[in-house]
Amino acid sequence: MSEVPSDLRYTATHEWARLEEDGTVTVGITDHAQESLGDLVFVETPAVDSIVQAGEGCAVVESVKAASDIYAPVDGVIVDSNSRLTEEPELVNGDPYGEGWIMRIRPEDPDSLEELMDGDDYEHMITEEEEPD
């Protein structure tokens, strides 16, 4: 069973988001997402200063199995992206909620995070996904 930390927020497209003390939002993909993708081989992170909208594809992860867009969970500006992933995409597989973070966004509205799923909702969603029919 995949790990779903209860202190994070989640999207239906399997990103997680964490509100940091400085008001920025760190974004990555969930343990469930990295598990279904398999070993990652390339990660394309967004350019700093680019403006993103919630639901907009702004990064790409490519695994042995498939390429997958990473969507911004909130409106805002990219303030940082994890440059280590260029050389070490496996960090996403090994530590999806830690060293495998993908980007940091300064949200237009910090409250917009409240619109995302909490851990229980996300866990419920992936459990339903895993069950056939």
């Binding site: 398999g38 081989v41 490519e62 042995v64």
Partner: protein
């Protein structure tokens, strides 16, 4: 969902080893045991074991076994002279298209064993039965058999630790594509990874013990994911992707598996194949290396420098090269650089002659 899938004798062990199990050709098979990239690298550098019991083992025995097989496949099984010797073949239809690729083992006079693909099992068996009507022989699927592949530079030593001393010495002396029956085991120096290694067909009830011994000897359990990337690097074709009943061996860079002599041997598909040979095949299977990041995947369209077009038949990430590689069906004679239409737009690819990697070494020169 799982109830309709077939399970190999090692299913419970795969679970215990932490396998991610996926449906494959009607079987519930391990995709990987954590990381398919690690498994790939361990096979190139050390040794891994694959449960390939989903493969269909079919024994063909009787006075006409040889003459039947000489009609059935495009390679010539008469060239198998040593007990245990193996041969890679294509089984063709009348138009020269490939019904399946298979290995034929010569066990002893009038006794042959074939290993065909799981995905084509029913069609293959039906075809064999139909073609066998006028021959005195018996076709028997060995549903009682399991099959393990132990592959990698350390395979000989580590498999040797799991068998008795005499068998270990025999393994060490075994030449590539040779094998031997040891009681009710068939052990041969064959594989699908581009590394040294062995494939062992044994009674399913004994497979668990061998598996346990191999793991104790630090042979790494490997899944179908690594098996696919290893065979791709080794430039080995996969049935259903790189070839099918609409493509001939000549159009699939498998011309070397067609035995044209003796001329009087009338194998199925010979006439159509001879005509294609006279005309010269229009297309062939070649390798591609992607210069930049990104991934060549099946069905990606390729434009050649001289205006021709082709497509990727199987592609993926090469852990050894650290970039994407592919096999592609391209106009015969294509070389140099070509263009692939990927997510990011038009991307340059290098056309190469497979294999990309064998025995741990990179064999292509693509400006790496």
């Amino acid at each position: 969902m799982g109830s309709t899938l077939r399970q190999t004798a090692l299913h419970e062990r795969h679970r215990q080893a932490g396998a991610k199990l996926v449906p494959f050709a009607g079987w519930d098979m391990p995709l990987h045991y954590g990381s398919q990239l690690d498994e790939h690298r361990r096979v190139r550098e050390h040794a891994g074991v694959f449960d390939v019991s989903h493969m269909t083992v079919v024994d063909i025995t009787g006075p006409h076994a040889l003459s039947f097989l000489r009609r059935l496949v495009a390679n010539d099984p008469q060239r198998l002279v040593h007990a245990g010797q193996a041969m890679y073949c294509c089984m063709l239809n009348d138009s020269g298209g490939i019904i399946d690729d298979l290995i034929i083992y010569f066990l002893s006079e009038g006794r042959y064993r074939t290993v065909v693909n799981a995905a084509t099992r029913e069609r293959d068996l039906e075809w064999m039965q139909r073609q066998a009507a006028d021959f005195d022989l018996r076709i028997r699927e060995r549903t009682d058999a399991a099959m393990l592949a132990v592959q990698g530079p350390r395979a000989e030593t580590l498999l040797g630790e799991c068998v008795d001393g005499l068998t270990a010495r025999r393994l060490a002396e075994m030449k590539p594509f040779h094998g031997m029956e040891l009681g009710d085991w068939l052990v041969a120096r064959t594989g699908y990874t581009g590394e040294d290694g062995f494939e062992i067909i044994l009674p399913a009830r004994q497979a668990g013990d061998l598996w346990d011994h191999l793991l104790e000897a630090e042979v790494v359990p490997c899944g179908l994911g690594a098996r696919d990337s290893l065979r791709l690097e080794a430039g080995l074709c996969l049935y259903g992707q790189d070839m099918d009943e609409h493509t001939s061996p000549l159009a699939t860079s498998l011309g070397w598996t067609v035995a044209w002599t003796p001329e009087e041997r009338d194998f199925i598909g010979r006439q159509a194949l001879a005509e294609e040979r006279r005309r010269g095949p229009e297309e062939t299977l070649l390798g591609l290396v992607l210069h930049s990041r990104g991934m060549l995947r099946r069905d990606v369209v390729i434009h050649t420098a001289d205006g021709g077009q082709g497509r990727v038949t199987s592609g993926g990430f090469s852990p050894t090269l650290g970039r994407s590689i592919a096999l592609a069906r391209l106009p015969a004679g294509t070389q140099g650089t070509a263009t692939a239409l990927l997510r990011g737009g038009e991307t340059s690819v290098q056309v190469v002659k497979p294999p990309f990697v064998r025995q741990g070494r990179i064999l292509i020169d693509a400006g790496l």
